[in-house]
């Protein structure tokens, strides 16, 4: 039996396949659903201090190689989400990680404090949403802003802090290093890739916001590259959590071999259904067993060392 348990920043996971932020994690019950589907940890939908309705429909465009979304970070606000987290902590056995965003360090800190008080096991700082002005990747491509936000958050809460980065930059290594300097406990990559589709018959963009974020199988090589490049920069100082395009165990394996210590899965819920998590975890285990690998830890970064 291959050991697929992992530990990320002191959080023990029975396997490395977590639920990515923005998928299902809107309520305690849907988080529970993800747990039932096998997720080893749940990242909540990203939330801000104040409620946000998000962008107008259409906020989704599907195409052969993935999904474009421009949800626009809808969320009922930190206080409402805190209640869901409290409830989720009672209902679920897996760790609950609160994803938060804001327009500056102060807002991040406040949202993180609310998350901490709700009992979240860790926070994930969303510095990477590609389709909301004034937050997300607009902050996340500025290495100084990243460092400042992470530093502030770390000085105010004592939970593990994951920092989620965008692939839409040429400065990823620098940004990751600054996040680590700021005290990040883990780097999560990637959020969606900026993308756009136009409907030729309607002569209009398929999303109300013109462009959005591209997720799903077509972004797999981009995510693997980003994890590799971050892993190369931050070395073993903090774990890298891989996300982007993972639909099968073999996709996750590539992330581990590129340096990821764990992975998150989002769009695969659409492609494989709610049991995507346990299916992918099983495929990882089967692969390791067939290959005679004892533990997932033995393959982390193995392809790039």
């Amino acid at each position: 039996m291959a050991d697929i348990g992992v530990e990320v920043c002191g959080i023990r996971l029975k396997h490395p396949v977590m639920l990515a932020s923005g998928i299902l994690g809107i309520s305690a019950e849907t988080m529970k659903r993800a747990e039932e589907g096998g997720a080893s940890a749940v990242i909540t939908k990203s939330f801000s201090i104040e409620e946000r309705a998000g962008h107008e429909n259409p906020t989704i465009a599907l195409f052969k190689h993935g999904i474009l979304n421009s949800m626009g970070l809808p969320n009922p606000g930190a206080r409402a989400m805190a209640k869901e987290i409290e409830k989720a902590k009672k209902m679920c056995r897996v760790p609950i990680i609160a994803s938060v965003f804001g327009k500056d360090a102060d807002e991040f800190v406040k949202a993180c404090e609310i998350a901490r008080d709700s009992g979240a096991d860790a926070v994930e700082i969303n510095l990477s949403c590609p389709h909301v002005p004034g937050t997300g990747m607009e902050l996340g491509v500025d290495p100084n802003a990243v460092k400042e936000i992470v530093t502030e958050v770390k000085s105010c809460i004592d939970l593990p802090v994951f920092v989620k980065l965008t692939p839409n930059t040429h400065a990823l290594q620098k940004i990751a290093l600054m996040a680590v300097e700021g005290g990040a406990d883990a780097i999560v990559a990637i959020n969606t890739v900026r993308g756009m589709l136009i409907n030729p018959m309607m002569k209009k963009p398929e999303l109300s916001t013109i462009f959005g974020g591209y997720s799903g199988p077509g972004i797999l090589p981009i995510g693997i590259y980003c994890v590799y490049t971050i892993y190369s920069a931050v070395g073993q100082s903090v774990p890298v959590i891989g996300v982007g395009g993972i639909c099968r165990g073999m996709d996750a394996i590539q992330y581990f071999m590129a340096g990821a210590s764990a992975v998150q899965v989002g769009s695969a819920v659409y492609y494989r259904g709610y049991s995507a998590f346990s299916e992918i975890a099983n495929e990882i285990e089967t692969f390791l067993e067939n290959e005679g690998v004892n533990s997932i830890r033995d393959i982390i970064g193995i392809a790039v060392r």
Binding site: I26, N57, N69, M71, P74, P76, M201, K204, E206, S208
Partner: protein, 262 residues
Amino acid sequence: MREVVEVLENNRVAKNVHTIRFRWKRDARPGQFVMVWIPGSGEVPLSLSYVGDIKGITVKVVGETTEKIARLKTGERFGIRGPYGNSYSYANKILVIAGGTGMCSLAPAIEMARVNYKVAFIKVFFGAKSAEDLFMLDRIEKFADALVIATEDGSLGKKGLITDFALPEIKKGFYDIVWTCGPEAMMIPIVKKCLAEGVNVEASLERYMKCAIGVCGSCAIGRFLVCKDGPVFDTKILSEIINGLGKVRSPSGRLIDYAEQS
């Protein structure tokens, strides 16, 4: 990429209610819905009111997008994706309770129950505010064995809420299944009665939808997603979520009262 279809015809079928027919080569079952896209206005979920080769949607004007849809002219186009969601189950004796545009998804189910499943007995209760809000009566009369109409103002059929007349029909023994679709305030007592009497029930629910593919969580009721697990929920699930009915999520995901939403 969304598919784009062309309006074959647009008929006003009731006050502010239009049926739009279009050719669309997709298999669909009654109960399923589509996301209809009007560039510049929005994208909204609508049940398929016709599921043959020439599909149909029947839309009530309640806001900007539904208004644009209702005004589509022959030859005009709209974007569409789907069909999404599940459908009704057929049984030998079916009781149908529809409120307003709830009939949109029930009408093709009634038609299919008769034509394809050749069920033994279908009785339909159809309620609305007023006579001018009722639609597809010919179609229902054609395929159902009995049709009971109720309007709140008494302008057609019985006067009162449809539940006043339909609820007493729900008793263990006669009907194999009850189908209902309409305002949640109407469906809650129906579902409760069915659960209490031990009668099989399927209710089609509406929630604010964004992705319609089961990822965003916008349409969540308890642990279920209306777009993916529904919109038609069966007795077992309904008994689990009955206390969650009457609450919906606003676009932000906040839970609000069903009545508050517009």
